[in-house]
Symmetry: C2
Subunit: 367 residues, 2 copies
């Protein structure tokens, strides 16, 4: 067992509704123990991708093989594989491996693996438990909490899916070591979002700690993951199905998803969300919803994280606008945005945290 300096001290535990998020350095060596406590099964099916599995799957599968049947099922890495076809193939692989209802699924990987494995679990024999073991910063602080699962279709991201709460979320921050630096930067976009949406102090702390975070300082990462999970869990706890306050977490995502889609997924999710946050904050200022300077403040932190803050010129503005129309947050034919009032406070409480914005204004801000 590799023990890093950060394993000293007890794991951090965040209650997220019906399940717990456990965060520690080196936690992966205890995954089987934790899973056996909350979702014991006859068969443990570990779903991972071809990038993550070589680093971590061997030890994890071995742990589970000591406790029952264990099998490893791989997908190719990347958002382009988050499809109904991959979902169907993984489901068939589990059936071929003899998985029945007494199966617990482990999602070992980034957000794509988590979303896909979660959707396999949600629909396998009408639902088996899933334990989320996120290995990317984005998945640790965002995708693993909230129970959203799903896949993309040619018409857009996450248009098919289900709400399926995990039995547990197990976060080993040591897995961030093998994460490419671009993905670490992209993950910071969601942490910045959590600051904008709910906690101005946290926003300031991220800004101050940016150099250390970019170096991958383990103690800072542990703090960051814990605080982001706490904030997200607090919002999600009372609004699992996204009828109310949870919509605030969509900040940056309406334009972000559109940008990501039009880029053909050549932009990372976090890069697209960074652009989305800056542009949506600009919308909010033009509408008189946000305090002046809000978008500039966001842009400075986004740029400090090494993330893009403007629409890349090769991505057509009209195409991005059109893509927002098919976003699943489009209700009744008009597009609603989650917009900030200022750093740490969202606007729109009176309108269900959603503010309708005219296409013309969006087009203007897209530049």
């Amino acid at each position: 067992m590799t023990v890093s300096a950060t394993t000293r001290g007890a794991p951090r535990v965040v209650e997220a509704g019906d399940y717990r998020v456990t965060i520690a350095a080196g936690l992966r060596h205890d995954f089987a123990k934790h899973v056996a406590a909350v979702a014991p099964a006859h068969h443990y099916a570990i779903l991972s991708d071809e990038d993550v599995a070589p680093h971590y799957a061997g030890d994890v599968v071995t742990q589970f093989a000591r406790r029952g049947q264990a099998s490893l099922h791989l997908m190719a890495a990347g958002e382009v594989h988050k499809t109904r076809e991959t979902w169907a193939r993984l489901t068939d692989d589990l059936l071929d491996a003899g998985c029945g209802r007494d199966t617990t699924i482990l999602a070992l990987g980034g957000g794509v693996v988590g979303d896909l494995a979660g959707f396999v679990a949600a629909t396998f024999m009408r639902g088996v438990p899933v334990v989320q073991c996120p290995t990317s910063l984005l998945a640790m602080i965002d995708a693993s909490v909230g129970g959203k699962t799903g896949v993309d279709t040619p018409a857009g991201k996450n248009l098919v899916g289900a709400f399926h709460q995990p039995a547990a979320v197990l976060v080993d921050v040591e897995t961030l070591r093998t994460l490419p630096v671009a993905h670490r930067r992209a993950g910071l976009a969601e942490a910045i979002k959590h600051g904008v949406v709910a906690d101005a102090d946290y926003f300031d702390r991220i800004r101050a700690a940016m150099p250390e975070l970019l170096e991958g300082n383990a103690e800072r990462m542990l703090d960051l993951v814990t605080r982001s999970v706490e904030l997200k869990a607090a919002v999600v706890r009372d609004d699992a199905r996204e009828h109310g306050r949870r919509k605030t977490l969509n900040f940056g995502h309406t334009l972000g998803h559109a940008v990501e889609l039009v880029s053909g997924f050549s932009l990372l999710h976090g890069q697209a969300v960074a652009i989305g946050m800056v542009l949506e904050a600009r919308l909010a200022e033009r509408l008189g919803v946000a305090a002046r300077g809000t978008s500039d403040e966001i842009e400075r932190v986004v740029r400090a994280a090494g993330l893009p803050a403007v629409r890349p010129p090769m991505l057509d503005a009209d195409a991005i606008l059109a893509a927002t129309r098919h976003d699943k947050k489009a209700r009744g034919g008009s597009v609603a945005y989650a917009l900030p009032a200022r750093i740490g406070v969202m606007a729109g409480q009176d309108t269900g945290w959603a503010i309708d914005v005219d296409d013309a204004l969006v087009r203007e801000v897209l530049g």
Copy 2:
């Protein structure tokens, strides 16, 4: 509006947990009114099949078009089309039609349409409301209550799916007029099952009314549908996710599904279940679980309904046995059955209503 003799009198209403089952003759002329009361939406997507739609879809779509956007989406009729491919295609059709989260899906058809439309609804943008409008006897008394949705895979029936409770179930018994008589007989298999599982008096009443039921006597059908829905709703109400008593409703279905699968779906579901009930009751008698004569009693009623009671010789017994091993009710490698103690009473309360049966005995009973 066609008013039959049976429309006199108020609709029968059965409470099924969070939703209501409304049963009446001629109810289809009021579908939009009922749906608007429980699941108002911007867009109403009516899913049906090519057999049912010509009879009923025109009037139904017209009703909804008066209240919002309405679109009709068709699938080919039959269990062979209850696949992930059809699910994906219908989902894409809804996206193309501009359906967003503010969509209510209507399932207008038999069990296949209900399962498939239910699964589309369960997974469309992570879940939109579905109203089940069953037009076959089987769907009215079985599939429409309980929230099970799903599709088949090459490995077996309903291996992929979700629990998704309908917003309402609307049953127009007049639609049974256009149901082929073989399907009416097949539907009676599930009614007989309800008698075996929970109500000996009901079992006797079905036997006594069999000639009238086979003639399609509307008043008898209304009584039958109402009593079966009551019984099923009572079982499901307390056990939506099938961890306990709901398993008793699997009676006849472990072998029934296997027979249906091996027949390549050339047998109707109800025909396969009829065979399954007789054979599983035989298993129960051989195990000393069921009172002697139980299987003969079931066989007599099944035959009176014009349903098969033995394994068709062209279906290989070993293949049927093998097919039970992939049934999703197979737990931990062994196959559990829901077995009767006598007509109206199920066995196995101590073992979670499931009794493990050796393959050898199953093979013997298959003949």
